[in-house]
């Protein structure tokens, strides 16, 4: 699938020019005069979808606009029976394609869900903020006729193995520091656009979503005895930029796309409703093994600071060969735009920073460029509270509930972690088996081929001059 489509759009027939989207955009990509329809600068846009979340300009629904509504739903890639109002800012939908493939018995359909889906999907069915539904989500996906219900959280554990090993290597050699996380595609696109000269500071790891896709069409295909080309790989993401990421040219493995289609939390909910599945009364069902078994560390990727916390849990033990004294690392939890900490790991005093919200990152990039950035490791998430606040998450009717909603989703992520038997990526038995049977070792030859990537200079000439 190729995205010539810029993914984030503003419908000029519906936009009232209030410019709340421009106020929330972290990269000043929304252009226009107050009172007039706005446009998006696709080059600057990082596809984070925060404008989609904040937009309140909706199409009034009356008899004369019924036909227009059907046209707009089709244009937006939504299912025709969607009942919710149409807003001016929206993201391109891919649910029609997923629905068509699910009806095709000849395809082997594999799905993965990001950590932040299970803490928010229930909101689409009227359940309270922070209702945790991994089991119902797996059951719903099974009823939608996916052949394998796998999980991005498993690949988040793989990411920790790879990225943690990469960080240790860089810290030991003192090269290319600070190292930035590369899980968030909006952050990666922003770095490629405004700071291409600093791209060597990004971890070479693909995001967990792409790692999962690569493993489904290699390791997973082998386990199931299926040709990789017969696998249709769907990812359910809280993020609109994941649609952009999966279409990146380099995100393929042995000639197959790693992830064929990305749908958002909202799109999954609309498909569940479309198929008449009674989500609220579904039983809890398990994910499939082995690519659906995850640790608590994998599940906290959905919140700001989560990747950092997961990495420290593993990094500490890999470096010191001792148990980390406390699994709950409160110093990286929080909601400030930038949080910093020093972590004593054996002899090493690891300096870390967590950036939540892309508007805070340019100051950090400037320090890296001038060589005065003191940190070893920096996590960057484009959205204000990490993936729980992503552009593809359930959209709120009342702005006044945003804070409560994000807090509850975050608490649910941490609650999910605290209830897992295994809470460190390197102790996940299926991760140990994956490395033993298939990958060999972190940063090894197979890992390098499947799980690591290169970045692209996206700067415009005039911006470079």
């Amino acid at each position: 699938m190729s995205y010539k489509d810029p993914i984030i759009h503003i419908d000029e027939q519906l936009c009232t020019g209030c410019r709340r989207c421009a106020a929330v955009c972290p990269v000043d990509a929304i252009i226009g005069e107050p009172g007039h329809p706005q446009t998006i600068d696709a080059h600057r846009c990082v596809v984070c979808g925060q404008c989609v979340q904040i937009c309140t300009a909706y199409a009034a629904d009356n008899e004369s606009t019924t036909a227009l509504r059907a046209v707009k739903l089709q244009e937006r890639g939504q299912l025709p029976n969607v009942r919710e109002p149409l807003f001016a800012a929206y993201s391109s939908g891919d649910i029609q394609k997923v629905k068509a493939v699910l009806a095709d018995p000849k395809r082997f359909k594999v799905v993965q869900c990001a950590p932040a889906i299970r803490v928010s999907l229930a909101e689409e069915f009227g359940l309270p903020f922070g209702t945790l539904t991994p089991g119902k989500m797996a059951a719903a996906l099974r009823r939608l006729k996916f052949d394998r219900i796998y999980d991005t959280n498993f690949a988040a554990d793989v990411t920790i193995m790879e990225e943690g090993s990469e960080l240790i290597g860089r810290v030991m050699s003192g090269e290319r520091l600070p190292m930035f996380t590369s899980c968030c595609p909006a952050w990666v696109k922003h770095a490629e656009t405004v700071a291409p000269e600093l791209l060597e500071h990004l971890s070479s790891c693909k995001s967990p979503m792409q790692m999962a896709g690569a493993l489904f069409k290699t390791y997973g295909a082998e386990l199931d005895g299926i040709a990789p080309s017969d696998i249709f790989s769907v990812a359910v993401m809280p993020c609109t930029c994941k649609k952009f990421e999966c279409s990146r040219e380099e995100m393929s493995v042995n000639g197959c796309r790693e992830v064929d289609v990305v749908i958002t939390t909202r799109e999954l909910a609309s498909l569940i409703k479309d198929q008449g599945i009674d989500f609220i009364h579904l039983p809890d069902e398990p994910f499939d093994s082995p690519l659906g078994k995850y640790s608590g560390a994998g599940s906290i990727f959905g919140v700001t600071g989560g990747v950092m916390e997961a990495a420290i849990r593993t990094g500490y033990e890999l470096i010191t060969h001792e148990q980390i004294p406390n699994l709950q690392l409160d110093f990286v939890r929080g909601e400030e735009g930038i949080r910093t900490a020093e972590v004593q790991i054996g002899e090493l005093e690891l300096k870390v920073a967590v950036v939540a919200g892309l508007k805070y990152v340019d100051a950090v990039l400037a320090k890296v460029a001038e060589g005065t950035c003191p940190y070893h490791f920096i996590e960057v998430m484009a959205c204000p509270e990490g993936c729980v606040s992503g552009g593809g998450q359930p959209k709120l009717l009342l702005e006044t509930q945003r804070k409560i909603a994000y807090q509850a989703r975050k608490s649910a992520v941490y609650r999910h972690d605290s209830h897992q038997k295994v809470r460190k990526s390197h102790e996940n038995p299926d991760i140990i088996k994956l490395y033993k049977d298939f990958l060999g070792e972190p940063l090894g030859h197979t890992s390098h081929h499947l799980l690591h990537t290169k970045f692209v200079d996206r700067s415009l000439k005039e911006e470079m001059s």
Partner: protein, 196 residues
């Protein structure tokens, strides 16, 4: 004593309003528990029916809503006494409304609109009245009058700030406010006296 305690009402400043329609959406959200509308947009299965309306002209945008008139011309026009004053608010009893449009015509602000009635996410049908649709006779939708009730039945549990109506609470530019005429009048009276 012959003076009255005038009813509070919501009013907007045209100079501040940016036309985002957040007030319309919030108004709809807090009046549709009975239609299954909760926090997420995805729970909406009925058309958005607001009780205030953002109007647009060449030079400004402005939400227009009920002034809770002391002499309530809407109530005077209602032939079935579906409009009453309750705790200082002019309220339409929707179950009694016959959709005659008298109130909408009588209102000097255009603050009353007629829409279909919904319950449990479905259109409420007429008991008897039918109309021809695709060569079959079907029961028409019940139509009723809607207007601002100052969110009087709203559940203020979730992050709501006291008893302020939802539109006032969500406005990102504070263009809307709940006016208490008695205190406002005495304040302006005092201010004028100070200037003398």
């Amino acid at each position: 004593m012959n003076n009255v305690q005038p009813s509070p009402f919501v009013i907007a400043e045209a100079g501040k309003c940016i036309g985002c329609k957040a007030c319309e959406l919030a108004c709809f959200a807090v009046h549709n528990d009975h239609n299954g509308v909760v926090a997420a947009v995805g729970t909406v299965t009925v058309p958005v029916i607001p009780r205030l309306h953002v109007i647009r002209t060449e030079s400004f945008t402005l939400p227009v809503q009920c002034r809770q008139c002391e002499n309530a011309p809407c109530a005077e026009a209602c032939p079935v006494q579906a409009i009453r004053r309750e705790e200082g608010t002019i309220v339409i009893h929707e179950e009694s409304c016959i959709g005659c449009k008298g109130c909408a015509m009588a209102c000097p602000f255009g603050a009353i609109s007629l829409y279909k009635a919904y319950s449990n996410g479905k259109v409420v049908p007429q008991i008897q009245l039918k109309e021809r649709q695709h060569s079959a006779m079907v029961r028409s939708a019940k139509v009723i009058a809607y207007k601002c009730d100052l969110c009087r039945t709203r559940d203020h549990k979730d992050g709501a700030m006291g008893n302020v109506p939802a539109c006032v609470e969500v406005c990102p530019v504070e263009a809307l406010s709940l006016v208490h005429p008695d205190t406002s009048v005495s304040r302006s009276r005092t201010a004028a006296a100070m200037r003398l």
